[in-house]
């Protein structure tokens, strides 16, 4: 009896492992299948637009706004949201299985040109348009941005009289927290050169804002549209010398379909402000409203 029993254990373990392995295969298969079916849909009907988004709530809301505006204009919209990181979706955008994607000028520029340097919104947009593949077209960029920024707590800002990054120059024992890659980003390595700030790095990854609030770090690298800037009462330090690459929201469209959707989408870009983007993120993460609801309300308020 005891022998048969002990033999069952590894079998159960193996079966569990097999189930996990199979489910992992299943999900990746369905992702690829979805991509190719989108491609066919696009070929069959010219009025169908496939809209994609990152798996980042803020990006998904913008994609949802694009979708609803296009639907109002009589297009059939296929939503392929929450795809993931840039490396995962750019190939689908390049091969035409996705027609429209909300992107960010600076981040996309860096994707195609690693050596890209910082600049104003216009400069970054022009540089990005130059490096885009021929079958992709950038529509107008929006004043709304979602880019890296340095943030401090309101109390720390008051104590040290901080409004811009350069004000940190005199402050001692500064630790900057952010994702592991911050250590290598020019906007960290050039802090001394551009603003004369001496900074230590701490890889805080997903815990960055909590570490800042807990006082374990003094400065946090957070996206400027992060709702916690508002909810945790953080102060975003101004960047007058352009340390960060501007990252304005920019719709990237398939060149074949760009012209027919440009009017509708450009109206969205023009109407969206950075503050509204933050407000929509707050509604999404704090109030837990769906992106469809948030998009609907924004369209009603801004495009009537």
């Amino acid at each position: 009896m005891s022998i048969t029993r002990t033999r069952i254990i590894p079998v159960i373990g193996l079966a569990a492992a097999a189930v996990f392995a199979l489910s992992a295969c299943g999900s990746s298969d369905s992702l690829q299948g979805g991509g190719s079916s989108g491609n066919q849909g696009g070929d069959d009907q010219s009025k169908t637009i496939v809209v994609g988004s990152q798996s980042y709530p803020s990006n998904e809301i913008i994609a949802e706004i694009y979708s609803q505006v296009l639907e109002k204009d009589g297009f059939t919209v296929e939503r392929k949201f929450a795809i993931g990181q840039r490396d995962a979706y750019m190939p689908s955008l390049e091969d035409g299985s996705i027609d429209l994607f909300p992107e960010y000028t600076g981040s996309l520029l860096q994707y195609y040109d690693k050596s890209a340097t910082a600049g104003s919104s216009d400069e970054v947009y022009d540089a990005m348009v130059k490096v885009l593949p021929d079958n992709l077209k950038a529509l107008d960029y929006s004043p709304a941005t979602d880019q890296d920024s340095y943030n401090v707590t309101a109390a720390f800002a008051k104590e040290n009289n901080l409004t811009e990054i350069g004000d940190l120059a005199g402050v001692k024992d500064l630790t900057f927290g952010g994702a592991p890659e911050l250590e290598q980003r020019p906007y960290f390595t050039d802090l001394k050169k551009v603003y004369g700030v001496d900074a230590k790095f701490e890889a805080t990854a997903d815990t960055t804002v909590d570490e800042l609030v807990a006082g374990n770090i003094q400065v946090a690298n957070v996206y400027s549209a992060d709702p916690r800037i508002e909810t945790e009462d953080l102060v975003t330090l101004k960047d007058p010398k352009g340390l960060f690459l501007a990252a304005n929201v920019v719709p990237i469209a398939n060149a074949d379909k760009a012209d027919e959707i440009a009017d509708a989408i450009n109206k969205v870009s023009a109407a969206m402000s950075p503050e509204e983007l933050v407000a929509m993120n707050v509604e999404s993460t704090v109030d837990q409203r769906s992106s469809a609801d948030i998009a609907k309300k924004w369209i009603a308020d801004n495009l009537g």
Partner: protein
Amino acid sequence: MNVFLDAFAWIFSPDRTTGYLPLWEAVLQHLGFTFGSVAIAALIAIPAGWAIGHTGKGREIAVFLSGAARSLPSLGLVVLLYLVIGVNFKEQAAVVAFVLLAIPSILAGAYAGIEAINRSTVEAGRAVGMTPMQILWKIEVPLGLPLLIGGIRSAVLQVVATVTIAAYVGLGGLGFALIQGIQTRNAAQILGASIVVVILALVLDGAFALFQRIVVPRGVAVQHSSPTRRRTRRAPVPAT
């Protein structure tokens, strides 16, 4: 092949000794999390496993609980615990998740080691007047040791591979280099850091394989070398 050369160049670059997290320091953090978590798991799982094996009670509940613990996704658990107990205790959150990951293998190794012992050996101990404690310490524990070490061995392997997720909550280890490489699209760094994790796992596995052989009691080792005798001895057991 070029990618592998780049990866090894990354590992052995002098830059790896400087920066926020030098490679050797990441390796030490990684090993620290691994051994610390497995040690805590062993403190819990070995006595529990021996108790189950010795008394023959509680096996179903142990299988159920450790199976459930094994199916928890570690990354989700780390993040959940971190959110619950706060940012200042994120190390503890990660260690708890790794301990839960390590317990099932060790527990199974501990009780399976005792269960696998030929009952007549235990009966013989009782016949010569051994107390239950003597049976446990002089018969069951030594004879069950190879399977127990095997359980610890697989726990160490699972944990050493999983500790990479500690970097998601800013705890360093080799996951730091991995995540940094992914975000900066540095293939040499991603592969280099992965290779270091693989080497760590292989070295640890080799060390435990050796250890597992050493702890086989001399009498059992002789038995193993003559398979025919072993088979004839074991055959009657399922019949009883």
